[in-house]
Symmetry: C3
Subunit: 269 residues, 3 copies
């Protein structure tokens, strides 16, 4: 099985050409699209999408991840064995959040042109390099055949929330999803006081909105109310019941999130 995560969009032939190359090499493979609507050139957006989806697939799935603004330049194509999965991608950090979640990571620089589609264009390695390598991997070609192991592969740290003073933090909105939910970079581990009920109260500001309630599901929200909720990927989200929190708060990807947690009286009083 091969999955696709790209920024090639839905309106052109690009994804179709990649599928054709894959099926021509391995007609028996299943191809499952995760999304081809990653924001153009946005490596972090691609990194978030694949990190939140890869682990649900069967062992040995080949995840093809092509968000590749540096195509044709000096960035390396890589094949990575990470946990139970294979990844084929440009070495630009798009796998960073996957590396972060797994202990076993082996990355190889793809150099064996034998597996490429010829001639290799300078603008579409998705078709000419990444798709054929993924297809051969799915046929059982050993990953060592594609090139030598490297250890200096590119990885960036996901942006983490920062403590700005006692009981106050600053985070950011990583993504506004299709519903308008604002996914922050704050996980339950980062500020456990919000999630475990151990403190009196918290206050979160994002855009022009202030949020003071943590709910456990959307339906508990009053109409138009913004609330915090633990999202399905383990991050704090700002949401609203049947509406767009992004629109209500006037906040979007990149917006700053400030959190403060009350301390004291309630605990032991």
């Amino acid at each position: 099985m091969i999955t696709l995560t790209t920024d090639f969009g839905l309106t052109e032939h690009y994804v179709g050409a990649m599928k054709g190359v894959i099926y021509s090499i391995n007609p028996a493979v299943q191809v499952a699209e995760i999304t081809n609507a990653i924001q153009s050139f946005d490596v972090l957006d691609g990194a978030l999408a694949i990190a939140q989806a890869y682990s649900y697939f069967p062992k040995d799935t080949v995840h093809l991840v092509v968000v590749d603004p540096g195509v044709g330049g000096t960035r390396r194509p890589i094949v990575a064995s990470v946990g139970q999965y294979f990844f084929v991608a440009p070495d630009n950090g798009v796998l960073s959040l996957v590396y972060e979640r797994e202990e076993r990571v082996t990355v190889r620089h793809i150099t064996s042109e034998y597996y490429f589609r010829q001639p290799v264009s300078n603008t579409f390695h998705g078709r000419d390099v990444f798709a054929p390598v993924a297809a051969y991997l799915s046929k059982g070609v050993d990953s060592s055949k594609f090139g030598e192991e490297i250890t200096d592969y590119v990885r960036f740290a996901a942006p983490k929330p920062k403590a700005t003073a006692t009981n106050t933090w600053k985070g950011i909105v990583l993504k506004a999803d299709k519903f308008g939910n604002l996914m922050t970079n704050i996980s339950a581990k980062d500020i456990p006081q919000i999630f475990d009920g151990s403190s009196n109260a918290f206050k979160l500001t994002v855009g022009k909105a202030e949020v003071t309630r943590l709910l456990s599901n959307y339906a508990e929200g009053a109409p138009g109310e913004l609330f915090a909720i633990l999202g399905s990927s383990g991050f704090l989200e700002i949401s609203t019941n049947k509406g767009s929190a992004s629109r209500i708060a006037g906040a979007d990807k990149g917006s700053e999130v400030a959190v403060s947690v009350a301390e004291g009286p309630a605990r032991g009083d």
Copy 2:
């Protein structure tokens, strides 16, 4: 075979995560997307899409329908045997228009957590409840294993056109499609006089437009002309030749449609 009809959109990992869960349980299944671009939280929009697509699939297809604004709250997850098909969905009426078309309907409340992905999040039952149940169904697990039959499942009536006086009716636009065709809730049975040529004339108003011609195909329309046509789902549509009727009429989903049919002279005179 499993189909997907959801409002999860095309830009996030949500649909990918559901596919991963499905393939992990049943690697041999075919997954076919009907659409993942149902309007957010819009149960009627989902009901229309699945009702217009399900019956073309092979017998025993499992239709997974997740438009689920009440996720994590009190609404029940259900598995329904309807006609020759299985449906897995939240019990919020999203299957209403399917129930309406079939005689044999058996609905069960999914309670057997054995088949869920653990832990079950409060915000993404598509991944944790509906996808695994659909996958097990597609592997041949009997629907009775998932829970007890219920008879008080939620169903709403599709909005029907109403006679407002002799030979006049009011209906609504159920949907403007990608081309701008305005699909109304008026079927050939509702106002047969429009379709069978038995009356002199009809007049239909929608938005700022007045329509007086019924055509049998788009190509007969003059440039810029709005006309009525019997759509492929059996409903009256207002369309134009190679253009957007929605834009020309200034009408969209929810717009009112008034119809009057002339009586008299032509008939028997």
Copy 3:
């Protein structure tokens, strides 16, 4: 294997209904979407997409191409054997750019209603005519069964760049892709002087922009710079590094492209 290239969009049940019809006839077939987001009614847009994707698929793939503004009218449905592939489409020129690339072309007018879904609607031959014919083809039904060969099938010439004076040409933008790259109709054969380094310089104007550099990959471009590049489909494109050339140039599909090539000094002087 069957591929889909249509203008039916992603938000309705149309593509789902077609898939259902296909799988009902041939449950074992693989269905791969090239794109269902061709611009509504835009036969040239469809012609470009299929021409750039079809040849990557395995031999004997059935390419189903439905951009069909004349549905229900007098245009014929056709099945074409072109090169190593089958195509099922309306006879409106949508296969023109495929015919152009292949030597072996046999086109048949589909008339055998035995293979249609009944009743045949006047507005959705994708579901009732094209999908079932494609499915039967994929099951091995001989193309001669669907109807008689015709030679007067519709084909249009792709718009070609024109020499307007010595060393000057006029072309057009065929398409702005999702990234904002402007794909022109100028191939390396049309103005080899741009690509082979044999002349001193060229100047290209499109929208409000002037382009004088040919780069071999995106990453070489300075921030905000527009440059020319040989695209992955063999056409000259105007691009920018990690941005939208369309937005920067204020140009889009249909925009005129003027090119002049300097002559003289450098060559033999």
